[in-house]
């Protein structure tokens, strides 16, 4: 029903229309693609940036961690040093307190009894047969040298400024008088203290030579009260 010329023209026109539509469609599709690609690229870039940022942050944190660790180590060392020195100080203090008699002391120790000789031969000086204050002094010195922690004579603590004085037949330890027999107690390592006293040519030999009766006895438990106040 259509004329031939009409068909020809319409066909050509349809062709043109198809061509134009295709071009438009292609362009639009490409534009969409580009946009998507751009989006993808942008996304990738963003992710990469965030990864980099994260890495940088990690590095920073790691550095911080390292420095903090170093600080902690320094502090630990410092504290350890302090502990050692303070421990030493406390130990020293305790030892010194024991020596000065500020604290009660108990523990294993030794007991040395010095007594006048019971038998004084005729014609000899009885003065040579009694215990003198220097004997006691020698024993005390020896015990102190042998690391005794605390020493007492007849129950009186020896402190840092004690004195032992001869007043005739009795002696005075600080302000208390006592007579023979003199019991010298010392807290410390009993073996060591005894060994110190019994060295050949040592204090014991000397005392025996000077006619003093010496008895040493190890004790499991020696107790000494604290000296109250400053002793004169």
């Amino acid at each position: 029903m259509l004329k031939k010329s009409e068909v020809r023209i319409l066909t050509i026109l349809c062709m043109v229309l198809g061509f134009l539509l295709t071009l438009s469609y292609q362009t639009a599709a490409e534009k969409n693609n580009k946009a998507e690609e751009g989006q993808a690229l942008w996304e990738e870039d963003r992710l990469r940036n965030s990864v980099l940022e994260e890495q940088e942050q990690n590095k920073e944190l790691e550095e911080e961690w390292r420095s903090l660790q170093g600080e902690v180590r320094e502090m630990e060392e410092e504290i350890a040093g302090e502990e050692v020195s303070s421990f030493n100080l406390v130990e020293d203090l305790e030892r010194l307190r024991m020596l000065t008699g500020e604290v009660p002391v108990k523990g294993p120790g030794i007991e040395v009894t010095l007594d006048d000789h019971t038998y004084v031969p005729d014609g000899s000086n009885p003065n040579d047969y009694i215990v003198h204050e220097r004997h006691i002094q020698e024993v005390v010195d020896e015990l102190m040298l042998a690391d005794a922690e605390a020493i007492s004579i007849n129950g009186f603590r020896i402190t840092r400024n004690s004195y032992i004085q001869c007043i005739g037949p009795v002696i005075k330890v600080d302000s208390s008088t006592s007579a023979a027999p003199f019991v010298i107690q010392a807290v410390g390592d009993p073996e060591q203290l005894e060994a110190a006293l019994e060295l050949s040519g040592g204090v014991k030999d000397k005392l025996v030579n000077e006619n003093v009766e010496v008895r040493t006895q190890k004790q499991n438990q020696v107790m000494m009260e604290a000296v109250v106040g400053e002793s004169e």
Binding site: L2, I9, L10, G18, F19, T22, L23, Q26, T27
Partner: protein
């Protein structure tokens, strides 16, 4: 009878094969061109249904309409005013009117049969 349909396919194939891309700035002109061609096609169909089809009228209508619409769009683009809307509007209105006329004509014929 089926030649126009074949023509459409042929055009699509040519378009795909050439792979020409329209620069972004010219997409507007392509819109106008597509509208103009569509309008002319529908107008031709209508004319041939009414037995008033005339080659010279058809072709001159296509060329003049297309040229005017394109120049309007170009002018609008230069002035920064959307003058191409006038062409789009005119083509759209004519498209729908022609389609309506064709529909009535075809319905009338179908009823007569």
């Amino acid at each position: 009878m089926w030649l126009p349909v074949v023509g459409v396919f042929l055009g699509v194939v040519i378009g795909l094969l050439t792979g020409v891309h329209i620069p972004a700035g010219y997409s507007l002109y392509f819109t106008i061109a597509i509208l103009a061609v569509l309008d002319t096609l529908v107008g031709g169909c209508k004319a041939s249904l009414e037995k008033k089809f005339e080659d010279s009228l058809f072709l001159s209508g296509l060329v003049i309409n297309l040229g005017f619409a394109l120049s309007l769009a170009f002018l609008g683009n230069q002035l920064g005013v959307d003058l191409y809307l006038a062409a789009v509007f005119a083509f759209g209105v004519r498209l729908f009117r022609n389609i309506a006329i064709m529909r009535r004509e075809l319905l009338r014929r179908w009823k007569i049969k």
